[in-house]
Subunit: 467 residues, 2 copies
Amino acid sequence: FEEFQELTASEFFRKNKQMLGFSGKIRSLTIVFHELITNSFDAAEEAGMLPEIKIDLKRLDKDHYILRHTDNGPGIPENFVTKVFCTMFAGSKFRNIQSRGQQGLGCSGCVLLSQMTTGKPAKIISGYKEKGELKGVQMTLKMDVKKNQGLVLDKKVVEVKHTGVCLELHFKDVSYSLSEQGAFEYIRRTMIANPHAKIVFRDPTGHKYIFKRASDVIPPLPKEVLPHPRGVTADDLIFMAKHTDKRRFRSLLTSSLSRMSTKRVNEIQKLTGIDLNKRPKDMKWEEAEQIVDLFAKMDFMAPPTSGLIPIGEAQIEKGIVGILNPEFVSAISRKPVTYRGGVAFIIEAGIAYGGDSGRMVGDQRKAEIMRFANRVPLTFDQGSCAITEGLKSIDWKRYGIRDMESAPITIFVNIVSTQVPYLSTGKQSVAPEPEILHEVRQTAMTVARKLQKYLRAKKAEKEEAMR
Amino acid sequence: FEEFQELTASEFFRKNKQMLGFSGKIRSLTIVFHELITNSFDAAEEAGMLPEIKIDLKRLDKDHYILRHTDNGPGIPENFVTKVFCTMFAGSKFRNIQSRGQQGLGCSGCVLLSQMTTGKPAKIISGYKEKGELKGVQMTLKMDVKKNQGLVLDKKVVEVKHTGVCLELHFKDVSYSLSEQGAFEYIRRTMIANPHAKIVFRDPTGHKYIFKRASDVIPPLPKEVLPHPRGVTADDLIFMAKHTDKRRFRSLLTSSLSRMSTKRVNEIQKLTGIDLNKRPKDMKWEEAEQIVDLFAKMDFMAPPTSGLIPIGEAQIEKGIVGILNPEFVSAISRKPVTYRGGVAFIIEAGIAYGGDSGRMVGDQRKAEIMRFANRVPLTFDQGSCAITEGLKSIDWKRYGIRDMESAPITIFVNIVSTQVPYLSTGKQSVAPEPEILHEVRQTAMTVARKLQKYLRAKKAEKEEAMR
Ligand SMILES: Nc1ncnc2c1ncn2[C@@H]1O[C@H](COP(=O)(O)OP(=O)(O)OP(=O)(O)O)[C@@H](O)[C@H]1O
Ligand SMILES: Nc1ncnc2c1ncn2[C@@H]1O[C@H](COP(=O)(O)OP(=O)(O)OP(=O)(O)O)[C@@H](O)[C@H]1O
Ligand SMILES: [Mg+2]
Ligand SMILES: [Mg+2]
């Protein structure tokens, strides 16, 4: 036990950067783009704005780049900058609201990778409003990996024209690629699910790509979705009770769970005999278990539909048509359901056939899966993802697709949730929770049926024409 | 930013217990067995003892168990007990020595799962030696999830006959299963790679299984394996320099890197012109890069072979024969090489044909992969593992195996390293580092060639017999 140590989160991830997704040169750079783009999209949307990002990737040498990333979000107040960029498990996305970020790791991971590969500090310019007044600050930061904190090497007031974050990071041992795993394809897929965003990207050759907005409609702001009584656990109730400022357990119930009215609470008190007026801290585990068991038997309305914001069937079809030009497309956005812990989620999907659907492998077009979570493309770890597992588990032959290995089909799936159960901190695959697998299967069968109907009609038409 | 929070590691993992491997009822219980067994094996081996574990799984109700796990290791000193069981990222395995544990999460994760599913505290009896004297303490603990610390609910001195840890945990929402994913199969596979261990397991029906020792030879103790100059990064040198107590950079080099002699250091000083006598803190990034670039051009001996302890070819073959009774078996243990960061690793593998080799799927025997890391069975996440990727990437047809889907073959692969690059904190799959993939492929081809030779000889014999 002389060697017994406690590591900080940053120390742990420095030893295990592959767990942040930084494994391989191409993937590492794509993950950097992913973390910075998702942060900027979240920030702009929370401020009620259409996201606009400018990315400049300059190549200094082989596998050596400078990345400049600028957004039009509300910026970051000066006193939060070091926590945002140099502290792991620090963020504003730990609540019950749908957002792309949810771990407090993303941009700190990028700063860590930059520092580990080049030794250079991160440069940040943040334009933000303080009491209505526009302020600008430029900071040069390094991460103190042992302490999970930031070190400010330089700080000065600067003039900014509008709010937003401008970040400059140097990277070595990463590689820009036009392949499926590369940053360019990542941007392309991001645009399918985020037609309301604009990205201007200057690649290492100097070529400027403008990914225009396909829609001027700001998506509605997601609302807080409280845990649903169906699935919330005794541990959740006890944990909430331990850390609440509510005086009575009954007010904790009505304020922390969805579909929990005073009438319901009285019903629960009557049926369990537990005094729900007592202080939250006095609630015992056995009583919490009784309450949760009773929840399972009661009839609650499904989770509210207003909190989660799916892409929507019309927009999915539009996005798919825009890039694949298929002969057939059909989308479906399911109702919200919950998985373990009473966490609400929605599965939506689109299927495209023909045109540029599917992926060329050699000279064959094979079925392609495009996975998304909260509108974010999931590029890697496809083999271990619940979306893949759910889609592969249905018998496509029954729907007229004899061989998925040679079918010009693209299946687009998006999971929307306040808490996506990722399999690792790399956030590229979803855990196979039974309820999620079930929903993916149901969704897959629905779109498969629609495709089957189209293919039959097409075949009938063909046979008709031949007579 | 009013919602900006910093989470502790325990808070994060409570929200994301699937990242500890606790996803699904069967898998969750198997992972608990895995974490406790690996800790006991590490502890006994470090103390130079043959590991002996007693596991008692009592079923209280459907999906409701009490687990009692007792080992014969050196125990845990009283003042370390709460850190061991209630603090995440706390452990003694963060050094450059091969061990099964390496993250400081395992048993804290089990305590967290127990608490989250039952609300019950963990009970620990620890027998340990303090200044040669045998001491015993019994403690009842809960994890303070917000603070990543332990709360001692009860503590008392007890009599113990010998050193070791006895742990009692309650679990709900877990399931004991005899399937491939279950705890029993996990124990069985553990015994293949750890023939020097003994496990007595009383299952929920009360049936007592004795997994006897197949060998009385204590494996040699792994030694510290310093990072190898080939692959160590500039960041590694700067990080070491920042946290060393050495007075000169040259002594940091000779003491922290393998194969680094004074002669070498003088050579490096001469070729780079950098004064290596200066204080480590005065080393600049650009200079570290120069040194690392020079390392890449110099001729270093391969990593020392004594530090890593593979299972060994004889033992792999013995273990395979013991459970599969095959008609052919062949094993190979490769030389140490390094992956990114200069971390040494060894790939060893065995191939078995016929007998009970392969896995029954329906009425077919298909090829089966058994993956191990530092002698620990990897049961889950097979699809995303580098071992799987490496094995599947060779063309088995070239070696006479026409169809892996219907071949009575079992391939056993073990990776040995001071730091296994797992893909997630669930530690069930290895990251596809290029050097690891390469070694797995080379190993696969070697055993495939041996199998091919056997099958040809078998076929020739058959044809001979038919004349
Ligand atoms: N461009 C930005 N504009 C405004 N705020 C930002 C920006 N980037 C990051 N932040 C803030 O910094 C926090 C930390 O970001 P980080 O990417 O580390 O974690 P996250 O986005 O919360 O979760 P995840 O690890 O899943 O990405 C965010 O929650 C947000 O509050
Ligand atoms: N049965 C045991 N006997 C003695 N020491 C133990 C035992 N179990 C755990 N420990 C000590 O507690 C530490 C923490 O154990 P824990 O399982 O949390 O992490 P780890 O084994 O170091 O890494 P990992 O998360 O990869 O398992 C170990 O490093 C070891 O020092
Ligand atoms: Mg983020
Ligand atoms: Mg452990």
